[in-house]
């Protein structure tokens, strides 16, 4: 199982108390995805940023729903990698 997170580079210089917002999920639980596929749009410091699949696999669980916020390092979904 692999965590899907917003890349650390997106948090660089951002205040520690700032959270990001899940604007839209582009996939659902159970969907098969390919490495590099856009999975969700999130908003941080007025920037709408795509979160992409880190590997081929299946979306096992969405942890942060549309409209919810999340802190630095928190996974927003879990991916079951293809074998």
């Amino acid at each position: 199982m692999m965590d899907i997170t917003l890349g650390a580079e997106m948090w660089e210089g951002v205040d520690a108390t700032t959270e990001a917002l899940v604007d839209k999920w582009l996939v659902q639980e159970g969907d098969v995805v390919r490495r590099g596929q856009a999975l969700a749009n999130v908003v941080i410091v007025k920037a709408n940023q795509e979160v992409v699949a880190p590997a081929d696999g299946r979306i096992e669980k969405i942890l942060v729903k549309t409209g919810e916020t999340f802190a630095r390092g928190k996974p927003i979904a879990r991916l079951k990698e293809s074998t």
Partner: protein
């Protein structure tokens, strides 16, 4: 940005009529807002984040599309706002408008100085490298969209006082009108004379063309377009 961005491009916008432009995370508000507009403004959604913007004859907008790996994107999210904020500062100085671009570490103090924030409106609070006057009043707002195909960075400058009443009433927050008035300033107020959107647009096109090393992008749109001059602005030096 439907396909991969190969080279930097930009467009400068002026506006004939008012439009409320919702941030990407505000699209769910659309049904509540439309009935309140009563035809006084269009209602649009943008692809970037942040709060609602009221565009209109009091604003000049800039859209810059950059390929991944462009030097202006290489130092992280916050720094990617910096160059556009500072370019606006230089252009505005040329018009007699004295402002500065806010580094992230100055934000808490600047937001506090300006009083209560209005989170639903772009001009209701301050973000990194946005442009303010000496009293911390916001003149230029920034936002961006990052995709695998490239990065879009946008800016909006108030050349004159917007119709804050229109925006606040449509958004269902009429009590926030005085707050927005207090937290913002226009080129006209700072220059002590009217600043035509076309005048600012022309100077922004010159500066962006020189800074990016590209010609003006004539995108198809309903927004008004003005012609571009390619001479080097006096605040930029020629390469030697």
């Amino acid at each position: 940005m439907a396909v991969a961005v190969a080279a930097a491009r930009f467009h400068v916008w002026t506006y004939r009529a008012p439009a409320i432009v919702l941030g990407c995370a505000q699209r769910s508000l659309r049904q509540d807002i439309e009935p309140k507009l009563e035809g006084r403004a269009c209602l649009l959604e943008r692809q970037s984040g942040g709060g609602a913007v009221l565009s209109g004859p009091w604003m000049v907008g800039v859209s810059v599309v950059l390929p991944h790996g462009h030097p202006w994107l290489c130092n992280g999210l916050l720094e990617s706002y910096r160059w556009l904020g500072q370019l606006h500062v230089a252009v505005l100085a040329d018009l007699g408008v004295a402002v500065h671009s806010l580094p992230a570490h100055e934000l808490p103090r600047a937001n506090e100085q300006a009083g209560r924030t209005v989170d639903w409106a772009c001009f209701g609070s301050l973000s990194p490298w946005e442009v303010v006057d000496g009293q911390g009043r916001k003149l230029v707002g920034l936002a961006q969209r990052r995709q695998q195909t490239g990065v879009l960075v946008v800016a909006g400058t108030l050349t004159a006082r917007p119709d804050w009443s229109l925006l606040c009433r449509a958004m269902g927050h009429p009590q926030d009108e005085p707050v927005l008035r207090h937290r913002t300033v226009s080129c006209e107020e700072l220059a002590g004379r009217p600043v035509a959107p076309q005048e600012l647009a022309s100077k922004l096109k010159q500066a962006l063309g020189c800074a990016l090393g590209v010609a003006y992008c004539r995108a198809r749109s309903t927004a008004e377009r003005t012609s571009s001059k390619r001479s080097l602005p006096k605040y930029m030096s020629s390469p030697t």
